[in-house]
């Protein structure tokens, strides 16, 4: 009884802020203005404008995730090999930007990349041609990588530190060179960290609208922007919810993948 009482705040919280909103999204997504059941809002993803935004979102998130992975993995390995004092400091440096507001950080990139921004000023100072940096897919990817990179580094770093150094020694001992050891021992053993890193970068990248608004202008619409506009500008909650449900399907797919790999990492699949 006591335990149930203690759990009450969390129950209220989950019902009020998770279950009810979710139920409302499904209600709006599956009905039209009159309240009648319809799949139109979900089918709306097939229209040229929406599917283009969805594919672009998937593509840019995928690219950001891949870039994050290739930046984070070597870094996590270097961190792992450092002495305790040193690696704590470096991890701290990577977490430090997260103490600043996410929007503020993205805004800073805007100032850097603008037509008359810092980077172009430096270029013109050296009489080099100015570049069109902002409002490009590249700028959005940069924003995603910059903001979400720590979420890739930390889980990989965590899973790497869990590997017994003697397991790596054993691989060398059995004749494997550094590359073979990385490929056959270190990477497979760090897979749970890699998969959760991928989820933690891919999911927020896929759903973001702030980064694409600030660094992509209004020229490049991601699925996040489309949904946001349906709610704020078009006031079409039904369509917005419908598209959200579609997006959720992709996120759930990613989660399923994550659990499957995590189980394997724990050695439960025999």
């Amino acid at each position: 009884m006591r335990k149930k009482l203690l759990a009450a705040p969390y129950t209220v919280w989950s019902v009020a802020f998770i279950l009810i909103p979710l139920a409302m999204v499904f209600y709006y997504g599956l009905t039209d203005e009159t309240g009648a059941f319809t799949l139109e809002n979900i089918a709306a993803i097939a229209t040229a404008e929406h599917s283009k935004a969805l594919w672009l979102s998937l593509l840019l998130s995928l690219i950001s995730t891949i870039i994050c992975f290739f930046l984070a993995y070597p870094l996590a390995m270097i961190l792992c090999r450092m002495q305790v004092n040193q690696h704590k400091f470096i991890v701290f440096i990577f977490i430090l930007p997260m103490w600043m507001n996410f929007l503020l950080r993205t805004l800073a990139w805007q100032t850097l990349l603008e037509k008359s921004g810092v980077i172009n000023n430096i270029l013109s100072f050296f009489h080099l041609p100015t570049q069109n940096l902002i409002n490009t897919p590249g700028a959005i990817v940069l924003g995603m990588v910059y903001n979400f990179l720590p979420f890739m580094i930390l889980p990989i770093y965590n899973s790497l530190t869990k590997i017994d150094p003697n397991v790596i020694n054993a691989a060398h001992d059995l004749g494997a060179n550094n590359f073979q050891t990385l490929l056959k021992i270190i990477f497979p053993l760090s897979l749970p960290g890699v998969v959760s890193g991928i989820t933690m970068v891919f999911v927020p990248s896929l759903t973001t609208f702030a980064i694409s608004t600030m660094l992509g202008g209004s020229k490049i619409l991601l699925i996040g922007n489309v949904i946001e506009q349906e709610f704020t500008q078009a006031s079409n909650w039904h369509l917005g919810s419908g598209l959200s449900i579609v997006l959720m399907i992709f996120i759930i797919l990613n989660m399923v993948l994550n659990t499957a790999f995590d189980k394997e990492g724990e050695g439960n699949v025999i």
């Binding site: 020694n169 054993a170 691989a171 060398h172 059995l174 004749g175 494997a176 053993l189 394997e264």
Partner: protein, 357 residues
């Protein structure tokens, strides 16, 4: 005796300002079961890691079959290691674990299959091919680790406290199994342990180490019966280490009484350390003993009783199958060949070693 297979010459190794090994010289013969024995921090594991190639000595050379392998990485050495906590690849099946080294070497599938079967049979774990390491007990995992190492047909097998994590019964079983494996395979074993009983049971040669120095090298019998200094005597089994004076050849004075012994050449009236094993102290009727004392403690140990006898100001540790209740007046008698005489440490270094022990 056969040739030197591994030869360590003037090996020195330190971490920061800690000297782990200081000018160490040691050779290992082919087909030998050699044990590096010592307390933690004595440099035994570092020695093994230098032989395995996981550490580089600050100075000195490692010769393998006459060739300098000091700077050769571990994957190029003709030896394999069994690690303390098994270090199995948890993401692979048992068969994949055992096949790892063979696959790297590019052996054929049928050869690998045969080898897996052979190795599992050798360690008494037939049919475990498709199990995962996590589903095995500690002893089974250790046997897989050994199987994984020996399928590569190394010339030398390095074992770093491989039985440390197992319980007593299992440890004893594994000791016999290791001896059997060594005899069947005919390869050289270099074994690291801090357990003196393990060392005495399995080894051809024991190297007793302390604080980066080799204290004594010898057969188990020699190490046990004729320790060269107080550290070895104290570390290998229980012993009574008493200050004595060598009166003349074959006569030593301890605690005010003269005992006949078999040692010669120490000079006359020279201070020495006298080592007497507890099982070598004979308790007799007071009038028959060289010195007399009183039993102060007694513990039943299964095979024997362990007693403390206070005599001439020293508490003697005595092991006997006969029981003498606390308070009994007894005589102490020692056969001459059971008295081991050792020189007192001369240098301060040796002194430090003796005191630390």
């Amino acid at each position: 005796m056969s040739t030197k297979l591994i030869d360590l010459q003037h090996i020195t190794k330190s971490y920061d300002s800690n000297v782990i090994l200081d000018d160490m010289n040691l050779y290992i013969r082919e087909n030998e079961f050699l044990t590096l024995l010592g307390p933690s921090g004595c440099g035994k594991t570092t020695t093994l890691r230098i032989i395995g190639g996981f550490e580089k000595p600050d100075s000195g050379v490692v010769l393998f079959d006459g060739k300098d392998i000091t700077n050769l990485p571990p994957n190029k050495r003709q030896l394999n290691t069994v690690f303390q906590k098994y270090a199995l690849f948890t993401h692979m099946t048992i068969a994949e674990n055992i096949a790892f080294g063979l696959k790297i070497k590019g052996k054929s599938k049928s050869y690998i299959q045969d080898k897996i079967k052979y190795a599992l049979k050798l360690v008494n774990l037939d049919g475990f091919e498709n199990r995962m390491p996590d589903s095995l007990s500690g002893g089974q995992q250790q046997r897989i680790a050994i199987a994984r190492a020996i399928v590569n047909e190394p010339k030398v097998l390095l074992l770093d406290e491989p039985l440390g994590a197992l319980d007593l019964k299992l440890r004893q079983d594994m000791q016999y199994e290791l001896i059997r494996l060594k005899n069947e395979l005919g390869i050289t074993f270099i074994y690291v342990t801090h357990d003196q009983e393990e060392a005495l049971t399995m080894s051809d040669t024991i190297v007793v180490m302390n604080q980066g120095y080799i204290q004594q090298i010898g057969t188990p019998e020699k190490i046990y019966n004729e320790p060269e200094n107080a550290f070895v005597a104290d570390f290998i089994g229980d012993s009574n280490i008493i200050d004595g004076i060598m009166v003349q050849d074959e006569l030593v004075e301890i605690l005010g009484a003269k005992f006949a012994c078999v040692d010669k050449g120490f000079g006359s009236n020279k201070p020495v350390d006298v080592v007497i094993r507890p099982e070598d102290v004979d308790l007799v009727k007071p009038e028959e003993g060289t010195i007399q004392g009183v039993v102060t403690h007694i513990i039943f140990k299964g095979v024997h009783y362990e007693m403390e006898v206070s005599a001439n100001g020293y508490d003697w540790l005595v092991q006997s199958t006969d029981m003498f209740p606390v308070g009994t007046k007894v005589g102490i008698k020692i056969d001459p060949f059971d008295i081991q005489i050792m020189n007192k440490p001369e240098s301060e270094d040796e002194e430090a070693i003796a005191i630390d022990a």
